[in-house]
């Protein structure tokens, strides 16, 4: 049967039942934990994971944590409260800014930004983005820095190597500090940590190693983003969360996941990747996704490169023998 956009559809009830059973088995019988800790960002992935955890372990055995820092959008914490309230789960808010200040996160990051844009001050906002033209041109994944002045004026420049590495390394303190805080609460309660990546993020390496990549179980890591949305609807995740564009919520300037990393809308990228996995022809994928065959090939090449070049992120320590 020809590949079609319906192939991305799942049976949410069946998927939920299967995931809940497996989460209980892993966290309970295999890891001998008594519940689950989950960081909630106000995004769709962590919300779905929280709802699944509540079904698996019961609301009294799930602890949700909001982990804001100075660059976080305040809406993220508001949505975390709304989500926890709806599912009857305790929410603890841990302000990560003092810990991140201790690491020198902001100072190290801003020092690198200032080398690119000397006029940059903490009053500015900043973000890192990839070229937004993948649908038109097969540009390589080289990162750009955008700064936004207090008067709204934007400037963008391709990042030199040292500055790119320093900004990313400093920013990654955020995910790694959050992971440490999640494990603090998990260990004091003898709970397991639920990781929230979806398939797009895991396959293409959109996570921080030993940061948001650090968890005991990742229940939705095999699901495409658009499938996570199908689960969200079934699990009755608040509409505000379902309608919110996926963001990184890592940089002070708003940055969607599409502009930061994926470069194409999820509705298209998911079908292209699924088509690749099902060995569908380029013309079938183009028809299903409503784009040209040339665009399919460009997106496929981008996805293949990301999968190939992010092996380091996905690998644990490699043990070698003499």
């Amino acid at each position: 049967m020809a590949f079609s956009k319906n192939d991305i559809k799942i049976d949410p009830a069946k998927v939920t039942d299967s995931l809940v059973r497996q989460m209980r088995a892993v966290i309970g019988r295999r890891f001998h934990k008594r519940g689950a800790v989950i960081g909630v960002s106000g995004g769709i992935d962590s919300s779905v994971c929280l709802a699944l955890s509540v079904r698996a372990f019961g609301p009294s055995k799930v602890l949700s944590l909001a982990l804001p820092e100075t660059d976080s959008n305040p809406e993220s914490e508001q949505l975390a409260h709304e989500l926890a309230g709806q599912f009857g789960v305790e929410l603890i808010v841990e302000n990560m800014t003092p810990a991140l200040d201790g690491f020198g996160t902001y100072q190290r990051r801003d020092e690198a930004i200032k080398r690119v844009f000397p006029e940059f001050t903490p009053a500015y906002k900043s973000k890192i983005v990839l070229p937004d033209n993948l649908m038109e041109k097969e540009t390589l994944n080289v990162f750009y820095l955008t700064i936004i002045a207090p008067d709204g004026q934007e400037k963008t420049a391709r990042l030199p190597l040292q500055e790119y590495l320093q900004i990313v390394a400093a920013s990654n303190f955020k995910q790694r500090s959050r992971m440490a805080m999640l494990y603090y609460h998990a260990e004091r309660l003898n709970y397991g940590v639920i990781g929230t990546p979806n398939k797009n993020e895991l396959d293409q390496g959109f996570f921080v190693k030993w940061g948001d990549g650090g968890a005991d179980i990742k229940p939705i890591a095999h699901l495409f983003k658009t499938q996570v949305y199908q689960l969200a609807e079934y699990l009755d995740i608040p509409n505000k969360i379902q309608e919110r564009p996926p963001t990184t919520d890592t940089y002070s300037a708003e940055s969607t996941q599409e502009e930061f990393f994926f470069r194409v809308p999820f509705e298209i990228g998911d079908l292209v990747l699924l088509g690749m996995e099902q060995n569908a022809s380029v013309s079938e994928i183009a028809l299903a996704a409503g784009i040209s065959e040339e665009q399919v090939v460009r997106i496929q090449n981008d996805i293949k490169r990301k999968i190939k070049t992010t092996e380091y992120l996905k690998a644990g320590p490699v043990y070698i023998e003499s």
Binding site: T139, R158, T309
Partner: protein
């Protein structure tokens, strides 16, 4: 022409392969597909090419057909000089 390619090959072997000449790649081997370079490596390569060959690589030139093999890089650098 040989100088450009040789300079690039030496840089790639020394910088990205730790001098390991057991890993063979020809002039048309894709740096990305063969696993020699990731996106950070491309950025590093751009920095090297710009400083060594005294050229500026514009944003819309950061394309696989310009940068992803010894042959394409050599041709690209030649047109830019």
């Amino acid at each position: 022409m040989a100088d450009i390619k040789q300079t690039l090959r030496e840089y790639i072997v020394e910088n990205f392969l730790f001098g390991d000449t057991d890993f063979e790649f020809d002039d048309e081997t894709s740096f990305m597909d063969s696993g020699i370079l990731d996106s950070t490596g491309i950025l590093e390569l751009i920095t090297f090419v710009e400083s060594t060959f005294e050229i500026t690589i514009d944003d819309d030139e950061v394309l696989p057909e310009n940068l992803d093999s010894l042959k394409s890089l050599e041709a690209f650098i030649t047109t830019k000089r």
